[in-house]
Point group: C2
Chain length 199, copies 2
C-alpha cells in the first residue's frame, strides 16, 4: 500500500532515510533506496530534498537536533541553581551520546561518518550546544554563582574540556570502568574554576 | 657498505624501522624491509626483536617517549611556581604534538594507526604523562598554590580536559584559527579550578 505523494512529508522521508542508512550504511544508501522504502518515485523525494547531499545533511541535522532538544529544557530549569544546571546539562549530554552509541552502534557509526563529511552541520550543532551552555553560565554570572567575564568564551572552554564525554572519537571509552568518576572529576574541576574569582 | 651485525643495535633497528614506516606506511612495512634498509638478514633483526609485533611496539614506544622526555624537564623546574609549571607543561605537550602532526604528517598518521592498535603502549604513555602532571600538582598542593585533596585524580582530570590539545583525534584542528586562545581559556579555567578551595 504505497502512500500517495500527498502524504509524503519531509519528516517521513527523513525517517525512511534513517532506516535506509541503518540498513545499508552511509556509503551504499541511495535516494532510490529511500524512495523504494516509501513506495514512491525518487522524483517525489527530490521534490522535498533537491540533492542527495541535501537529504544527507537534513537527516544528520535531525539526528543531532534530537540531542540539543533534550538538553534545552535544562537551560531554563530555574528551580535549580546555575551550578546544578551546568552539572545536569553536561551529564545529560554525556548520557544522550552514550545512549546513541550504545543502543544502536551501527546507526551511531553511520552518523559519525556523515558528521565527518558534513562540517557545516556539526559546526551549527556545536554552536547550538555552546549557546545553551552560554545561557546557563550567563545566569550563573548574574546570580553570583560564577565569576566569569566572558560567558561565551567560558562556555566554549567547558564544552571543549568535556570532549571526552561527548565527542564521538571517545565513544569506545564511554563504557570503560571508572568513566563516571572521571566525568565527575572533570566537571567538579570546571565548576570550581567557573566559581572562583578571576586573578 | 652494509654494516656488520656487530654494529647492529636496537636503536639502529628502530631508526630504520621508523624510516621504513614513513616510506611504506603501517600496513605494508615488513621486517624484511627493515633488514634490507640496514643491509642485514631479517634473522639479525629478530635477534633484537623477537616478533614483528615487538618491533612495532618498540618503535611506537620510542616515538611516544620522545614527547615524555621533552616534558620531564619542566616537572622539576623549581625556578617556576607550580601554576606556571603546569601551564608550561601543557603548552609544551600541545607544541610537541602539534609539531609531530605538522612537520611530518605521514609519519604522524602512521603512528596514529599504530597507537590505535597498541593499547598497552598508549596506556603506559598516558600513565607516564599523568605521572608527570601529578608531580607538578603535588608540588602545588604542598606550596599552597593548589587546593587539591587527590593530586593523581586531579592530574587525570587535567589531562582529560585538555585532550583537544594533545589527542591525535583532534590533530586536524591544531592549525585552526583561534586554537591558541582556546587552549589558554581551557588552561586558565583548570588552573582556577585547581587553585580555588574545595567546597
Amino acid at each position: 500500500m504505497p502512500p500517495t505523494s500527498e502524504t509524503l512529508t519531509a519528516e517521513r522521508i527523513l525517517e525512511a532515510t534513517e532506516e535506509v542508512l541503518r540498513r545499508h550504511g552511509p556509503a551504499k544508501a541511495t535516494v532510490v533506496d529511500v524512495a523504494r522504502a516509501l513506495g514512491v518515485s525518487h522524483g517525489s523525494v527530490y521534490r522535498h530534498f533537491r540533492t542527495k547531499a541535501a537529504l544527507r545533511e537534513a537527516v544528520t541535522k535531525r539526528w543531532l537536533d534530537r540531542t540539543s532538544l533534550r538538553l534545552a529544557g535544562i537551560v531554563d530549569a530555574e528551580d535549580r541553581d546555575p551550578r546544578q544546571r551546568l552539572r545536569d546539562w553536561l551529564a545529560a549530554l554525556f548520557a544522550a551520546k552514550r545512549h546513541k552509541a550504545g543502543d544502536d552502534p551501527e546507526l551511531f557509526a553511520t552518523y559519525t561518518v556523515l558528521t565527518d563529511e558534513l562540517g557545516g552541520v556539526v559546526f551549527e550543532h556545536i554552536a547550538d550546544l555552546t549557546g545553551q551552555l552560554t545561557r546557563i553560565i550567563t545566569a550563573g554570572a548574574g546570580s553570583g554563582d560564577f565569576s566569569v567575564p566572558d560567558p561565551a568564551a567560558a562556555a566554549r572552554a567547558v564544552f571543549q574540556a568535556t570532549g571526552r564525554f561527548h565527542d564521538p572519537c571517545y565513544a569506545r571509552e564511554w563504557t570503560a570502568p571508572g568513566i563516571d568518576e572521571e566525568f565527575t572529576a572533570v566537571v567538579d574541576l570546571l565548576v570550581r574554576g567557573l566559581s572562583s574569582p578571576s586573578r
